[in-house]
Amino acid sequence: MTALPLPPGGSMLAVDPVPWARGQMAFTLASHIILVPLGVSWACMTLVANWRAIRRGDDDALLLAQRWSKYMAVTFAVGAVTGTVLTFEFGLLWPRFMGTWGAAFGIPFSVEGLFFFLEAIFIAIYIYGWKRLRPWPHFWTGVPIVVAGIGGTLSVVAANAWMNEPAGFTLNKAGEVVDVDPLKVIFNDAWPYEASHMLVAAYLVGGFMIASVYAVAMLRGRRGHYHRLGFLIPFTIAAIATPVQMVVGDTLARWVYANEPTKFAAIELVPESDSDVPETLLGRLDSEGQVSGGIAIPGLASWLSDPSTGTSTVIQGLDSFPADERPTTAEVNTVHLAWDVMVGLGTLLFLLSVWYGLTWIVRRDMPRSKLFLRAASGAGVAAVLAMEAGWTVTEVGRQPWIVRGHMRVEDAATTNGGVWVMFIAVVAIYLALATTVVLVLRTMSRRFRQQDGLVDTDSPYGPREVSAERAQEAEHISG
C-alpha cells in the first residue's frame, strides 16, 4: 500500500484508512441490502393479502395483512437507520469521491429522497389506518408504499450504475466537474439492466424470505388456511420473479461482456483473450495468473457471451488491460466465486419454482411433499446469499475504480487514520442490531399466536399504550 498523508494529531491510532473504509462500506452495504427486499416488496405482498381479504371476505388474509404490516414497520425502521449510516458514510469514508463527483452522483439520490419521504409517510398512514379507515380507502393508502419502493430502487441503483458506467458530466483540465446533464446521469447506459435486475431481485428475495418462514411453520404442522396463505402469496411472487430474473440477469451479463470487459474477464475467469473460452465452474487463478482447478465446459462462456457467433466469440482476457486498471488476482477469484454462487443458487431457486409451477398447473395445488417444504424453507437464505453474491460481482468486479475509468478507490477514501475505530463500533452495533431484530420479530410472532388477534402496541408507528379494557375489547372483537 502506498503511504497516505495522515492527519496531524491522530498518529498514535492512525492506520492506512483505505482497507478499513472498504471493509466498513462492504459490511454496512451487505447488511443494509438484506432489509431492502423486505422494504421494497413486502408492501406489495401485504396488499395482495389485503385485497383478498376485502374481495373474498377472507379473515385469515386480513389477519395476515395486518400482521405483515406490523413486521414491515420494524424492518422499515431498521432499514431507515442503516440507510442513514450509509448516507453519512459517503462523506465519512469517501469524502474525496463526494467532493469531486457529488454534483453528478448526488442527483439520483435527491430523486430517491422523494420516494423515501413518500414511503415514510404512507407506511405510517397504512399502519395507523387499519381501524380508522374504510377498507378500500385504506387499501389505496398502501399503494404509494409499493410505488415508492419501486421508485426508490430505480433511483438508488441509478447511482450505482453510474459508478459502473459514468456519464452525463463534463470535466475541465483540472478534472473538476464543470457541467452536468442530469438525465444522462440517471439514465446512464448501465441503468436499465442493473435497475431491473435489482428490482426483480427485491421481489424474488423478499418473496422467498417471507415464504421460508411459513414453510418452516408448515413443516412444524401449522398447515391451516392462514399459514397456507402466508406461504402461497410470497412464494408465488418469488416463483414468477425467478424465471424473469434468469432472462434479466442473462441480458445484463451480455451487456457487461460488451461494456465492462475487465469485470467480465473476472466473472468468466479469462486470463488471456481467446475464442472458444470454456465456462469454468469454481476454479481459481493461481499465483501465476493461470486457471487452476474447477470444471471446464468447453466453449460455453464464448457461446453464452454472444450466441450469434457461437464458440468463436472472442472474450477479452485480463491480459488485455494494464495490471493497475483491472482487479487483482485475489479480487478476480472473489468475483468468479461470487458469480458461481449467484448463478448456482439462482438455478436451484429456478428449479424449485418450476417444481411449484408444474405441480400447480397439474393439480391446482402446491407440492405436498416434505422435501418441497424443506427446500422452500431454505430458499430465503439461499436467495439472500445469491443477492449478496451478485452485489459482490458488481462491486469487486469494478476494482480498482470507484468511478470506472475516472477515480480509483484509494484516491476516493478519507485520509482519516481513525476509521478503524468506527469500523469496529459499526460491526459491534450491527451485530447487536441484527440479533435484536430477529428476537423482536420472533417475540411479535409468539405474541400474535398467543393473542390470535390484532395487537397494536408493538409497531414503531402503531398507536401506543392500549389500556387493559381496550385490549380486552379488541380481543373480544377479533375473537
Binding site: 442513514t84 448516507t87 453519512f88 462523506g91 395507523y128 442530469p182 414503531p460 401506543r464 399504550e465
Partner: protein
C-alpha cells in the same frame, strides 16, 4: 441559482431542527425522568408523542445531507473530512436511537425495556450535541475549503462548538417540553401538563442565557459570524429573542398553543440568523456559496426535486394530519392519539 439552493438547504435544516430536534428533546426528558416508577408517566407520554412521525422527521436530515453533497460537494467533503469524529458519533447515535426506539415498544421484559430506554435516552443527547458541535465548527471557520481536512480534534472541541452543542440539546429539550404540553392536554392528563410546563419554563430560562453567552463566545472565537449577527442578521436575532420571551410569557400564563408557535419561531429564526450571519460563505471565511456550488444543471435538478417534493409531500403530510385529527373523535378512542408534530409541519 446557488442562493436558491442554499435557501432550500436551510429550509431542510430548519425543518429538521424544529421537528427532529424536538424528537431528540423528548429523549432528553426521558433521560432525566428519574426511576422506573417515577418516570413512568412522562416516559409513556414521550413514547406516545414521538409517534409515527419520527421517521418522516428523520427524512429531513437525509434530505439536507443529500442537498449538501449534491449542490455543494466541496463543502461536504471538507466538513466530513474535518468533523469525522463528531459525525461518526452522530451516525452511530442515530442507529442506536432509532433502533432502540423502534424496539422499545416490542414486547420485552421491564429490564430489557429499561436497557433499550437508556440507550434511546443517552443517544438522544449525544446526537444533537454532535450536530451542534459540527455547526460550531463550520460557523467558527474551522473547516477549510477545497475538500481539505481541518484539525480532527480542535475543530469540534472549542468554545463555539461547545456552545453549539449545548444550545442544540437545550433548544431541543425546550421545544419538546412545549410540544409535550399540548400532547398531554389532548390526553387530558393535567399532571403531565403541569409537569412539562414547569420543564418547558426551566428549559427556556436555560436556553436563553446559553444563547446570549454564545454570542459573547462568538465575539472572540468566531468573529465573522459575530459581526454578521450584530449587523445584517440582527433583526432575526431580535425576532428570535422576542419569540422566546413571548413563549415564556405564554407558558407562565398557561397558553400552550401560542407558546408552541412562538417556540418554533424562536428556533427557526435563530437558525436563519446563523445562515444570514455567515452569508455569503458556506464555510466562513474560506468558501463562498457561489464558489462551492455545483454546475447549474445540478442546482436546477435539486430545485425541481424540491418543487416536486412540496407538491407531492405536503399533501401526503396533510393526509397524515387529517387522519390524525379524525382519530381524535371520541368514538375512536384515546389510543389513536396523533403526533402533534405531524400536524405542525404543515405550512
Amino acid at each position: 441559482m446557488d442562493d436558491a439552493v442554499a435557501v432550500v438547504l436551510f429550509v431542510a435544516v430548519t425543518t429538521y431542527a424544529v421537528f427532529g430536534g424536538a424528537d431528540f428533546g423528548a429523549g432528553f426528558w426521558d433521560l432525566v425522568a428519574g426511576g422506573a416508577a417515577r418516570g413512568a408517566a412522562p416516559r409513556a407520554l414521550v413514547d406516545h408523542a414521538i409517534g409515527p412521525v419520527w421517521e418522516a422527521n428523520h427524512v429531513w436530515l437525509i434530505f439536507a445531507l443529500v442537498v449538501l453533497w449534491t449542490a455543494f460537494p466541496e463543502a461536504f467533503a471538507s466538513i466530513t473530512l474535518t468533523a469525522f469524529v463528531p459525525l461518526m458519533l452522530v451516525a452511530l447515535g442515530i442507529v442506536l436511537r432509532g433502533a432502540s426506539f423502534a424496539f422499545r415498544k416490542s414486547l420485552f421484559r421491564t429490564s430489557q425495556r429499561r436497557a433499550f430506554g437508556a440507550i434511546f435516552a443517552f443517544s438522544s443527547v449525544l446526537v444533537p450535541y454532535g450536530m451542534g458541535a459540527v455547526a460550531g465548527a463550520i460557523a467558527s471557520g474551522r473547516v477549510p475549503a477545497g475538500g481539505e481536512a481541518g484539525d480532527p480534534w480542535s475543530s469540534w472541541i472549542n468554545p463555539t462548538s461547545v456552545v453549539g452543542g449545548v444550545l442544540a440539546v437545550t433548544v431541543g429539550a425546550y421545544l419538546a417540553a412545549v410540544y409535550l404540553i399540548s400532547d398531554a392536554r389532548r390526553l387530558a392528563d393535567d399532571a403531565m401538563v403541569d409537569y412539562f410546563r414547569r420543564r418547558a419554563i426551566a428549559a427556556a430560562i436555560i436556553a436563553g442565557p446559553v444563547a446570549l453567552l454564545g454570542i459573547v463566545v462568538l465575539r472572540s472565537d468566531a468573529r465573522y459570524l459575530f459581526d454578521g449577527l450584530a449587523s445584517r442578521a440582527l433583526p432575526l436575532v431580535l425576532l428570535s429573542s422576542l419569540c422566546g420571551i413571548g413563549s415564556l410569557v405564554l407558558l407562565l400564563r398557561r397558553s400552550p398553543r401560542g407558546a408552541r408557535l412562538l417556540a418554533m419561531g424562536a428556533v427557526a429564526s435563530i437558525i436563519w440568523a446563523w445562515g444570514v450571519a455567515q452569508w455569503p460563505y458556506i464555510l466562513p471565511t474560506s468558501l463562498e456559496v457561489a464558489a462551492a456550488a455545483a454546475p447549474q444543471a445540478t442546482l436546477i435538478t435539486v430545485l425541481v426535486v424540491f418543487g416536486v417534493a412540496t407538491v407531492v409531500i405536503l399533501p401526503s403530510l396533510g393526509l397524515l394530519y387529517f387522519l390524525d385529527q379524525r382519530s381524535l373523535l371520541p368514538a375512536e378512542g384515546l389510543d389513536a392519539l396523533p403526533p402533534s408534530r405531524g400536524s405542525a409541519s404543515l405550512p
